[in-house]
């Protein structure tokens, strides 16, 4: 497998929601690449479309949501039934068997709320084993053995006991570990983590993040890490994509994004993060204004009503492109008229 070849490549994805009040362009022209073994962080405020992007990849959008445009190319694993072919997930039937093979088998997902991502009426073991039965059919090992092994991997001291426990008997952090075990039991090559630590306290968060890094090193999977927490991004990511109102406004490797941000939104976002460092303690600076109403997106650059560097006549008329078109080392790609 070529490490330069992306595992997953999203091209100009547009996912819209058609509801009674109108159309919400939740994702509106997102392009991303995910490389083997790397972590891509998607950062943004609530409602910026980061979770919808993830749900578009797995084709598990809510009923009102539809992919209107774009491609999601996934390179199937060479050992699997797809034999290393590249498929466009947008072209697959979301309820079809090909898509179901991919869910959990090629791409696993963990969710924000460990409290409610397990059904309360089945045991942890039963629910993880269900995924094992779906995706580990080639293995000659009992699903129970696979599950116990995976539970031990994610840090359960007594997998035997956990097997027969119900979700309500585990703490939030333990449930998130169990969730990770369920997502990884099918040995996916990509793990989508949708705010996996948002509902946890900081100590537990640190443990879960460490666990994910360790598992990534062990299994070699790529991670798409969705979060609004820039601190988590700094710890986890190789590549970062910053989203605002359904668009990627800045993209680059993690060091460049933090040390040489270009887009006014990212700069403002970085200034709004509290710091403990006294030298730089110049007070918190909130971003002025509010995220616009989803039904009335601003014309031109979606950020222009809140932008400190707003240029009348340019920013409110033309939509900026993500430039430069091809990534250059030491420089992020930004969608802003300041750099065109």
């Amino acid at each position: 497998m070529d490490a330069d070849q992306p595992l997953l490549e999203i091209r100009d994805l547009r996912t819209h929601f058609h509801i009674r009040q109108g159309t919400v362009r939740a994702v509106d022209g997102v392009s991303l690449s995910v490389f083997p073994g790397q972590t891509l962080a998607i950062v943004g405020e609530s409602g910026c479309g980061k979770s919808i992007t993830a749900q578009s990849i797995l084709r598990i959008l809510p009923r009102a949501g539809r992919i209107e445009h774009g491609h999601i190319h996934l390179q199937l694993s060479a050992g699997g039934p797809g034999r290393g072919e590249i498929v466009d997930l947008v072209g697959l039937n979301p309820k079809g068997s090909a898509m179901r093979e991919i869910r959990g088998g090629e791409i696993g997902m963990i969710f924000q709320e460990p409290m409610s991502t397990f059904s309360p009426v089945y045991t942890i073991g039963h629910q993880i084993a269900e995924a094992a039965r779906l995706h580990r059919t080639a293995d000659d090992i009992e699903p129970r053995e696979l599950v116990l092994d995976m539970l031990a991997h994610v840090g359960f001291a007594h997998p035997d006991r956990t097997w027969s426990q119900y979700p309500h008997e585990l703490s939030g952090g333990m449930r998130q570990r169990a969730m990770i075990a369920m997502a990884l039991i099918g040995r996916p090559r990509i793990l989508i983590a949708d705010e996996p630590t948002t509902a946890l306290d900081v100590t537990t968060e640190a443990q879960i993040l460490r666990l994910m890094k360790g598992l990534q090193a062990e299994f070699g999977m790529a991670i798409i890490f969705i979060t609004h927490d820039l601190g988590v991004v700094a710890r986890m990511a190789d590549q970062v994509a910053v989203m605002y109102l359904g668009n990627i406004v800045e993209q680059g490797d993690v060091d460049t994004v933090f040390h040489a941000p270009r887009h006014p939104y990212l700069k403002a976002l970085l200034r709004s993060v509290p710091r403990l460092d006294p030298a730089e303690n110049i007070g918190l600076e909130p971003i002025s204004g509010m995220v616009p109403d989803p039904f009335s997106r601003p014309a031109g650059c979606p950020f222009h009503p809140r932008c400190p560097e707003f240029m009348p006549g340019t920013c409110d008329t033309a939509v900026p492109q993500l430039l430069p078109a091809v990534a250059e080392p030491g420089r992020t790609r930004a969608a802003c008229h300041l750099y065109t």
């Binding site: 068997s97 179901r100 869910r103 969710f111 309360p120 309500h168």
Partner: protein, 329 residues
């Protein structure tokens, strides 16, 4: 689990005692007693009222004793001798009157629960998983109609329609020629021919209700993260729906059992009169009107017992269904 059930059954005993006292007090609350009703009727029809006869009857029925003595006599006869007393109006032991009617009531109740479940379960699930589809709207329309139509009116309409279009008589549970026959296959078939009418009448409102409840519950559950998580691990859509959200949304089916028995017995009285069904409703209504206190009291006591049993069954089933209830979280 076994401990839980035993504990619940033991709790029945004090509960039944309290209920029996309440029942006895309640049926004694209206002014007068059975004898005043008899006297009134006699006076109305112009008969001579013999004072000595009245006193004799009063003593015979124990109506001259204080309330608590009457209660103790009644309850100890039930507990120690299985004797529910005599009905004043029918002139025979209460036990002879109620058992068969109670049996039919239970048959009809269970039958209509099964009817309600069979009809509302698939429709409710379909309606929720195909929200705002044509069928969903259709079911919703019929659901509201079914819920808004009083049972007895539905019974009258069905009887009228059956008679004027097909020449069927739908009252009762048997055709006249089988009424006094011993049980046979032909009689059973005849029963089934008649049974569907009360089942439909009694079940319609409950069905409409349960479809609405199941639909809204399931709509809530379908949005839950655990459904998405199950989908994200590659479970097929059909299996997913039945295994995950439906399993949670069927709670009202189970918890409804407890309420169905007493509801059918009290609410079905008018339907039973209209359809002339041999259930408890009409007789109980009469017993209450004429202050036939041992008959009415026994009925009420039986109904309370049925309600308790129904609640126990639904509690046990709920505990089996949901580990959080089982473990007392």
């Amino acid at each position: 689990m076994t401990q839980y059930i035993i504990k619940r059954i033991l709790l029945f005993i004090p509960m039944l005692f309290v209920i029996s006292m309440l029942v006895f007090v309640l049926i004694q609350l209206p002014p007068g007693d059975y004898l005043t009703t008899v006297l009134m009727r006699m006076a109305e029809s112009g008969e001579e009222v013999d004072q000595a006869l009245i006193e004799g009857l009063t003593r015979q029925y124990g109506l001259d004793r204080p309330l608590y003595r009457q209660y103790l006599l009644w309850i100890s006869n039930i507990v120690f001798r299985g004797n529910f007393g005599r009905s004043f109006e029918w002139g025979m032991p209460v036990a002879d009157i109620i058992w068969e009617r109670l049996a039919w009531t239970v048959v009809l109740s269970l039958g209509s629960i099964v009817f309600i479940w069979i009809v509302s379960f698939p429709i409710g699930v379909y309606s929720a998983t195909h929200q705002y589809s044509f069928f969903d709207y259709l079911v919703t329309l019929f659901g509201f109609l079914g819920k808004a139509t009083p049972n007895f009116l539905l019974a009258l309409i069905l009887m009228w329609a059956g008679w004027s279009w097909f020449g069927w008589t739908m009252g009762g549970l048997f055709s006249p020629e089988y009424q006094r026959e011993a049980w046979s296959w032909a009689k059973f078939v005849d029963l089934l021919k008649h049974l569907w009418v009360p089942l439909v009448v009694l079940g319609t409102a409950g069905t409409a209700n349960l479809i609405r409840i199941l639909r809204s519950n399931l709509l809530d559950e379908l949005e839950k993260p655990y459904v998405q998580a199950a989908r994200a691990k590659g479970v097929s859509e059909f299996k997913l729906i039945w295994k995950y959200p439906v399993r949670i949304a069927i709670n009202p089916f189970i918890s409804g059992i407890g309420g169905v028995l007493p509801e059918l017995i009290s609410g079905a009285a008018i339907v039973s009169i209209v359809l002339s069904l041999p259930t408890t409703g009409p007789v109980m209504l009469n017993a209450l009107l004429s202050q036939d206190m041992y008959l009415a009291g026994s009925f009420l006591l039986m109904l309370a017992t049925l309600a308790l049993i129904g609640t126990l069954i639904s509690d046990i089933l709920l505990a089996l269904l949901d580990p959080r209830i089982r473990q007392g979280v």
